[in-house]
Assembly symmetry: C2
Homo-oligomer: 202 residues x 2
Amino acid sequence: MPIRYPNGKPYVPSAQNQLASQKQKSYSNRGMTLEEDINKSNTYYLSVGKAVIHKKPTPVQIVNVDYPKRSAAVIKEAYFKQASTTDYNGVYKGRYIDFEAKETKNKTSFPLNNFHEHQITHMKQVIDQDGICFIILRFSTSDEVFFYDASHLLHHWCEMTNGGRKSIKKQDIERNGIKIPYSFQPRIDYMKIIDKMYFNYC
Amino acid sequence: MPIRYPNGKPYVPSAQNQLASQKQKSYSNRGMTLEEDINKSNTYYLSVGKAVIHKKPTPVQIVNVDYPKRSAAVIKEAYFKQASTTDYNGVYKGRYIDFEAKETKNKTSFPLNNFHEHQITHMKQVIDQDGICFIILRFSTSDEVFFYDASHLLHHWCEMTNGGRKSIKKQDIERNGIKIPYSFQPRIDYMKIIDKMYFNYC
């Protein structure tokens, strides 16, 4: 339902407001909380020798660098590039681990526009090479985190490209995914699920 | 032997010349040729479904970003960060692959200062997790490229920290490494060596 002024005219955001709202949206979608929790979990895994998982640096196209005397090089002009892979990868017991972490404010579904075509292609390639590939999804309103195998995501992506839903129903994520309860250390113990799913540990 | 002026006084480079020479040195050490060859080889491996190997983006600390209206965000101030891992990783037949590529102008040895403590630590962690970890070395003068298992590098690093040599003798690399002949496609077929060493293919 559109927001309306008291005179009944619908409220149309100005270009500036739209821009501000887009910025805010893109900021909220960066998933800082989930990202921080996962980074800390990875640091924990590394410190106890459980697994070696790192977040890849943000890809940046560097255009202009200044080399001041006696101090560090300063990048003066650069642009964000679209990532061609997922954000996280690493190794556990010789196996390749690869995943992406995303959060949404939606309550009943997870919008597929959180993922880029490139990332989907990359996940397919990883699965073809027998890598362990998944996504970690957070519903920020209810603060629930799920482990969801990439194969399910690829299925929904395929359906979308054939005119199907543009989001994954939360029920589907609850059914086909695995809820990751928060713990103290590591905060998001996704390796426990990998142990169960791929190494038959309980 | 120091360079001397005709009057016999030794030539001492000015701060500016030193800086220029450092820049040049650091540029030559970036190994663009080897890097380009490896990137192209990785693109080839990906295109034929052989393996999924990517170079990680250069880590950058972003300080200031400008969001102009109607155009892409511009990074106005950023700094290079030291990488905490190696440059390349990925997956082959489920196994985790991890390596660093370096080249030298030296003819008889490979200086260990081409590697950072962080990278050495990372390689140890990868080996502990049973990942496939190695370095690709290029002697640029003779244009020879070698596959050298990370375990050998770690051995030499350990010796250095105990007061030993600060470089790896080329003879050692020839004995314990495997020479990678240039080929048309892929240019540097290091996966062929992984096939031999880890998957018993000939």
